[in-house]
């Protein structure tokens, strides 16, 4: 077996080493490629079948609901094509950015845990490792193609996608994906051979985290934005232009604004984008090949250096003074253990990207001149959503990492007289101490992002702190109940979902109490009204009217009721938090015993 294949096989096995995933090792690539082929063939066929029917139905619906439309016949032939650009931008972002995030992320994890002695002592050449790494990452290509083709279904329903168009789209996505994988593998090799210091690694982790968060938020905003942002230099938007050209056979996009249409040139146009993408692909491979010739695996082992810790600073001294002993000592120890892992801090700080991106996007959307009213509602609901998400995620950037690699120390702590109770409370204190300053900054940034809609900075701050406290307590309780000690693991996702749902329910209950006559009410109301529209009549109307009634009339005007509501919300949060901590402590005491 060639060495590069051995490396690829080993990496593939590591990738699918879970209890469930290891059973999929043989079938997964075949399954993915088959699915891509089936969808790629089905898209033009389905598109051809649905194309006319859909257009006629749309026309008839428009004729019925909008009898005053100036030129309904013309509208039959003019379709809003900006949706293709938006979908294309999302596909392009997935195709180009995800391989980079995944490949570098995997390598960063391995750099920490895998001893390289085994590799270094074997007669392996750098090029074998790099090709092996590249090969194993190719598994992402069918995944990306699959996701992209599924995302193109709405496009296929609106436009007639030919086989050639589908081929062009898949080629563009493949080029972007391969370029992303190659760039990431070269960057990974750099990490592998240069053995970066802890600080560089932490910075890279923070950068990856920030990139991931930005991409997630950016994608949602892209899908909400009506006019495509003019970011011509991004490979993701080249993919969007190619998809737009393939679907519409035009380099002019049509934006529907009420009853009129706006024509805008797509920049860069489809073919230019394709040339740019192909050039990037060729250049990245050539540059990668040049870099490969300079890679050397010898002499890269990290030097063991003792790190002498200086005298305790004011921060820790203040905690020691403000908390009772021994909680103070344990909390300080926990804090030191967490904060001295610089990658923990980097990950934790990457949450700040939530309000930063929301702030940037909100500024961009305010200039989105086409649908001002709708944009404001979208901005409010999206920003509100991220406001809650950031509040929940912030403690989740600390608590899981307190548990990683601490299974053995848990036995030591379980043996002590107070058992795990002291540990759980110190974790709670630690998380709150770290989260409070971040909450203040995030609340202010969210306020700046949403100030045009309304609200009071004090309310933003109070709600953010409330969410963070509740989320911290729930997450601590959840992790104590279901501890996960490995960095990789499905358990983290399950715990995150449980925390998200539990905190979401408490926060929603608070909003539903309408103690805060403020825009997040929309957060509950808007999805409810939208969901109600799917219900059969008359239930749909009744639910929508009930929500609207509550929204308009049920907000307490009496200050006494407002205070009572605030107290009720606070109590609800305290009860849920206390119950969660209590349950978590009990469960952790019984862990594996």
């Amino acid at each position: 077996m060639p060495s590069w294949l051995a490396v690829a096989k080993n990496e593939y096995r590591l990738m699918l080493s879970g209890r469930v995933t290891r059973r999929l090792r043989r079938i997964l690539p075949v399954m993915l490629v088959s699915l891509v082929v089936v969808i790629a063939v089905a898209l033009p066929l389905v598109s051809r079948f649905l194309f006319l029917e859909l257009r006629v139905r749309e026309y008839l619906e428009d004729m019925l609901t909008l009898p005053l439309r100036p030129d309904p016949v013309l509208s039959l032939f003019i379709v809003d094509t900006s949706i293709v650009l938006r979908m294309g931008a999302i596909s392009g972002t997935l195709a180009f950015v995800i391989p980079i995030l995944v490949a570098i992320g995997r390598q960063l994890e391995e750099v920490e845990v895998v001893s390289k002695d085994v590799v270094l002592s074997s007669p392996l050449k750098p090029v074998h490792v790099i090709i092996g790494e590249f090969m194993v990452n190719l598994i992402m290509l069918p995944v990306i193609l699959l996701v992209s083709t599924i995302m193109l279904v709405p496009v296929a329903l609106t436009f007639y996608l030919t086989f050639q168009a589908v081929a062009l789209i898949l080629t563009a996505i493949t080029l972007a994906c391969l370029t992303g994988i190659w760039v990431a593998v070269i960057a990974s090799t750099y990490l592998f051979t240069r053995e970066p210091t802890g600080k560089i690694k932490s910075a890279l982790k923070a950068l990856l985290g920030a990139l991931g968060v930005s991409m997630g938020i950016g994608i949602l905003f892209l899908s909400m934005s009506v006019t495509p942002p003019n970011l011509w230099f991004l490979p993701s938007l080249w993919v969007a232009s190619i998809i737009h050209f393939a679907a519409t056979q035009s380099n002019i996009t049509i934006i529907k604004i009420g009853f009129t249409y706006l024509l805008m040139p797509v920049q860069p146009d489809g073919w230019t984008s394709f040339i740019l993408l192909a050039s990037l692909f060729v250049l990245s491979f050539l540059m990668g090949a040049v870099c490969l010739s300079k890679v050397n695996f010898t002499g890269i082992e990290k030097k063991e250096e003792a790190l002498i810790v200086k005298k305790e600073n004011f921060f820790y001294r203040a905690i020691r003074r403000s908390l009772p002993s021994p909680l103070s000592v344990v909390t300080v120890s926990q804090l030191k253990e967490f904060t001295r892992r610089t990658d923990n801090i980097a990950r934790f700080l990457s949450v700040i990207m939530f309000p930063v991106i929301v702030l940037l996007m909100s500024k961009m959307m305010q200039f989105d001149f086409t649908k001002v009213g709708e944009t404001l509602v979208s901005l409010a609901s999206l920003s509100g959503f991220y406001f809650v998400l950031a509040g929940v995620i912030l403690p989740m950037m600390i608590i899981p990492y307190i548990f990683i690699d601490t299974k053995d120390i848990l036995w030591t702590i379980k043996k002590t007289p107070r058992g795990v109770k002291l540990l759980v409370y110190s974790m709670l204190a630690e998380t709150i101490i770290l989260c409070v300053p971040m909450s203040i900054v995030m609340a202010l940034l969210f306020y700046l992002a949403m100030w045009s809609i309304g609200g009071n900075p004090a309310v933003f701050l109070a709600v953010m702190l409330f969410m963070v406290f509740v989320s911290t307590a729930i997450a601590t309780g959840v992790y104590a109940s279901r501890p996960v000690f490995k960095e990789k693991g499905l358990g983290h996702f399950v715990n995150f979902v449980i925390t998200l749902i539990a905190t979401g329910l408490v926060v929603s209950a608070t909003f539903i109490l309408l103690v805060i006559p403020w825009i997040p009410n929309l957060l509950v109301a808007e999805p409810l009204i939208k969901a109600a529209s799917w219900l059969p009549q008359p239930t749909s109307t009744l639910v929508s009217q009930a929500v609207a009634f509550l929204l308009i009339n049920a907000a307490p005007k009496d200050p006494f009721i407002q205070i009572a509501g605030a107290v009720a919300s606070f109590m609800l949060g305290v009860v849920v938090a206390y119950t969660s901590i209590k349950r978590g402590t009990r469960k952790l005491e019984l862990y594996e015993g």
Partner: protein, 251 residues
Amino acid sequence: MEAIKTVSLTKIYGSNVGVENLNLEVFSGETFGFLGPNGSGKTTTVRLLNCIIRPTSGRAKVGGYDILSESEKVKRITGLLPETPGIYERLTAHEFLEFIGSLYDVPQPILKRRINDLLDFFELGDRGDELLEGFSKGMKQKVLLASALIHDPEIVFLDEPTSGLDPVSSRMVKDLIKMLSSETNKTFFICTHILPLAEEVCERIGIIDRGQLKEVGSPEELKEKYGAKNLEEVFLQVTGKNVTKDMIEWV
């Protein structure tokens, strides 16, 4: 007086037996060696006696306290060096010992003195302010040994105490056990694979296999009973393990 007494102590994990009907007595001030092959139930016994896990059935008293109803009292009078030692690598040795000492409510002035004494004893006095991540395995083991003694426990459980230690450090640990055993009235419960260690420091020895206690007695008694030259022969006979000498042809 018994420091440890178990009556039909049993722990079952699903379909696996951890410990079955363990009846054991360890006397106060005694150094007791607990031997057994891998997976025989040594660590499970130690965890049960330290109230880390709960027995499926049976009873046990440690220092006169019941492990189920008086677990907090048991924990206060025992010290444990676990088999798979956990350590906060981003703390210094000094900070880690302070952390463990605080968990046992050792008053601060006493704690500071003990930390310095223990670090000096283990020849880590000048490295107390270094992060533990930079320590070798043996040095970490020394810190963990110190953490098991930081609250001056009456009964000390040591699970593989010399694991990862160089001969000098290993000698130091043996001397420490002997010294503490003779000069203080501490009881030591030592789980080990290193039979010369058990032979040298333990007054009595228990051999456990597949969750069941097979033999208890002093090293001399056991050697006499089995007509063995050393403890290794006793161990192999009791556990029924024989070394096969089939050599692989190509080696």
